[in-house]
């Protein structure tokens, strides 16, 4: 039964359990399509989180980083991803890229409205 297997896998997978959203200030490099290698200065891991916490954490991260710094936002909630992209309009910030893998979105955002 593939359905049963899926349910078992679901409960076994820690990704499906909501955990405390992790905000990491550790810098790391990622390869982004069309942009090459960029340095991420904040990672906001909101797997399992529903609105409005991810939005508020993103807002807070943007208040702390400098112009041109990049935030990596990770979520498994499509509605949240769309709202965070909309936030770039007012913050201001720009959306660099989205990498979608099974069940999650990695969104790369840059503070400031001028394109590089």
């Amino acid at each position: 039964m593939p359905v049963l297997q899926d349910i078992l896998r679901l409960w076994a997978n820690p990704d499906n359990r909501r955990r405390r959203p992790a905000v990491s200030t550790e810098h790391h490099n990622v390869e982004l399509p069309g942009l090459g290698c960029v340095m991420v200065s904040r990672t906001i891991d909101c797997i399992g989180e529903g609105c409005p916490r991810p939005q508020l954490l993103t807002l807070k991260a943007f208040n702390q980083i400098g112009q041109g710094d990049i935030v990596e936002f990770i979520s498994d909630n499509p509605a949240t991803v769309e709202t965070v992209l909309d936030m770039m309009f007012t913050l201001p910030g720009s959306h660099l890229a989205t990498v979608r893998t099974e069940g999650r979105w990695h969104v790369y955002l840059r503070k400031g409205h001028d394109q590089p």
């Binding site: 499906n16 399509p33 939005q55 702390q64 509605a79 709202t83 201001p92 720009s94 099974e102």
Partner: protein
């Protein structure tokens, strides 16, 4: 807004070319297949069950639109205050304007099953409690249903909390009786209600019989005294009651939440009226999916009223309770022989009935209340037509979420679960005081020329505003305690 198209989007989940060729689509087909088979088996028992299946299938369609447009009233008011994103609010407003036109067409056609809600301060107070609750649950009544369909277990807890809290609230007596003004008790006692309802016992009973029943509901068309039904429906209810207020709200949203960022983005220092119009258009089109969903919801909500109206005509009934009785199902009917059967899109009342029925099964007398005993009944969930609509919404949302590869089981942690239950309870209580949720008390109301819906929205916005402030404070406090963001 809508800047997604500019940036690269890499989708490693798109393993096949065909959007139908993945496992999610298979599960979606299985759900649709099972619902079809169950529908046919039900019809083979008795053709008259078609009345109930209309609710189920319309619910399925609503679920598809809700998930597609991410139609969430909680998001509409919350994102506005929390992060100054007007997208969902704009989408909901466009949807309201479009739905009002289809509702007017249904009214002119004579199929409308809508009755205006009585006006009183309870609408604003209920809306405020409801609006406060939705911040903590992360979804409104309809939003929680579609998110349940996306596999969000936290949202399922919200639905459960809405269900149980309403049933508990409408039954609560004891200490709650002391909060009842004596004028309500006197007025309720004077109504000559049957003995078994014990109408002077219980806060909600006296609220209904002693307060609500003395109030009047009126549509915009009736208030303005339009005699021509076409002018009444389209000019009175739709244009004056829904579309003009919507345009006013959209202008406010543009001026306070969109204009500045738009002009800065477009590098316009001295905007002409043309620039302002282009800005307004950019705001309206940024929520295309929500607006499209709103149009779809409006059309189908109109069709549902029409289909239910036609079936009532065909079976010569006013209420599904009569049909249930003819088919031999008399359990759970109210003392008037009726069940809750609005004939249009509604969310919270049927959820209260689920809990009412469950409590009845374990021996609690729920039928001595106005809400269950006199008005709505407590039918078995399998025979609860609007209840099947709610289940349909969950299934419909699951179908499209699976198709779009957005379905994912999400289990709540303790904090989220507690917030879901507390917020859900507040939503349930607010919905009962305000006579509905964001759908029944706002969306379905304003689009039918019932101005109490705008009052509910006002209360909901105020409650959400306070809720966002409190939630923000809570997050700050938690972050400070846990040492995140420490530089």
């Amino acid at each position: 807004m809508g800047k997604q198209s500019e940036a690269a989007v890499i989708d490693s989940t798109a393993v096949t070319d065909s959007w139908l060729g993945h496992k999610g689509a298979l599960y979606a087909m299985i759900i649709l297949g099972l619902v079809s088979i169950v529908s046919m088996l039900t019809l083979s028992l008795d053709l008259r069950f078609i009345y109930m299946l209309v609710y189920l299938w319309f619910g399925l369609v609503y679920g598809v639109f809700l998930q597609y447009g991410r139609f969430c009233m909680a998001s509409a008011v919350r994102d506005l205050f929390a992060v100054k994103v007007p997208r969902m609010a704009v989408g909901v407003m466009i949807a309201t304007a479009l739905f009002s036109l289809t509702a007017a067409a249904v009214t002119v056609g004579g199929f409308s099953t809508f009755y205006p809600h009585p006006w009183g301060w309870h609408v604003i107070i209920g809306g405020a409690i409801f609006g406060f609750g939705i911040i903590f649950t992360g979804g409104c009544a309809s939003g929680s249903l579609y998110k349940s369909g996306e596999g969000n277990v936290g949202s399922m807890l919200v639905v459960l909390a809405i269900s149980v809290s309403q049933a508990a609230f409408v039954m609560a007596g004891g200490l709650m009786n002391r909060l009842v003004p004596s004028s309500w008790t006197a007025s309720a006692a004077a109504k000559g209600m049957p003995e078994e309802l014990t109408v002077t016992n219980g806060w909600f009973d006296q609220f209904m019989a002693g307060y609500i029943w003395d109030l009047k509901g009126i549509t915009m068309a009736q208030w303005l005294g339009f005699e021509n039904p076409v002018i009444g429906a389209f000019v009175g209810n739709a244009l004056l009651g829904a579309i003009l207020p919507t345009i006013a709200i959209l202008l406010v949203l543009y001026l306070f939440f969109f204009r500045k960022a738009y002009l800065r983005r477009a590098k316009i220092a001295h905007p002409t009226s043309g620039d302002e119009l282009r800005g307004l258009w950019a705001m309206l089109t940024s929520s295309k999916n929500t607006a499209l969903a709103g149009l779809g919801l409006g059309i189908f909500a109109g069709l549902q009223m029409w289909a239910t109206g036609a079936l009532r005509e065909h079976y010569q009934i006013f209420n599904f309770g009569e049909l249930l009785e003819k088919m031999g199902y008399t359990n759970g009917l109210s003392i008037q022989g009726t069940v809750f059967d609005p004939g249009y899109w509604y969310i919270t009342t049927q959820e209260a009935q689920w809990a009412g029925w469950a409590l009845d099964q374990v021996g609690v007398n729920t039928m001595d209340t106005v809400f269950f005993g006199l008005e709505n009944g407590i039918p078995n969930p399998l025979l609860n037509a609007p209840g099947l609509m709610s289940i349909g919404i969950i299934l419909g949302a699951a179908v499209i979420a699976l198709m779009r590869r957005e379905f994912k089981w999400k289990l709540p942690n303790l904090e989220t679960a507690v917030l879901a239950i507390v917020g859900g309870c507040l939503m349930g209580i607010g919905a009962r005081i305000g006579m509905g949720c964001n759908v029944g008390a706002f969306f379905a109301a304003v689009t039918n020329g019932d101005m109490t819906g705008w009052a509910f929205l006002l209360g909901m916005t105020a409650g959400a505003f306070v809720g966002v402030k409190l939630f923000n404070w809570w997050i700050e406090w938690k972050l400070a305690r846990e040492g995140d963001f420490a530089l």
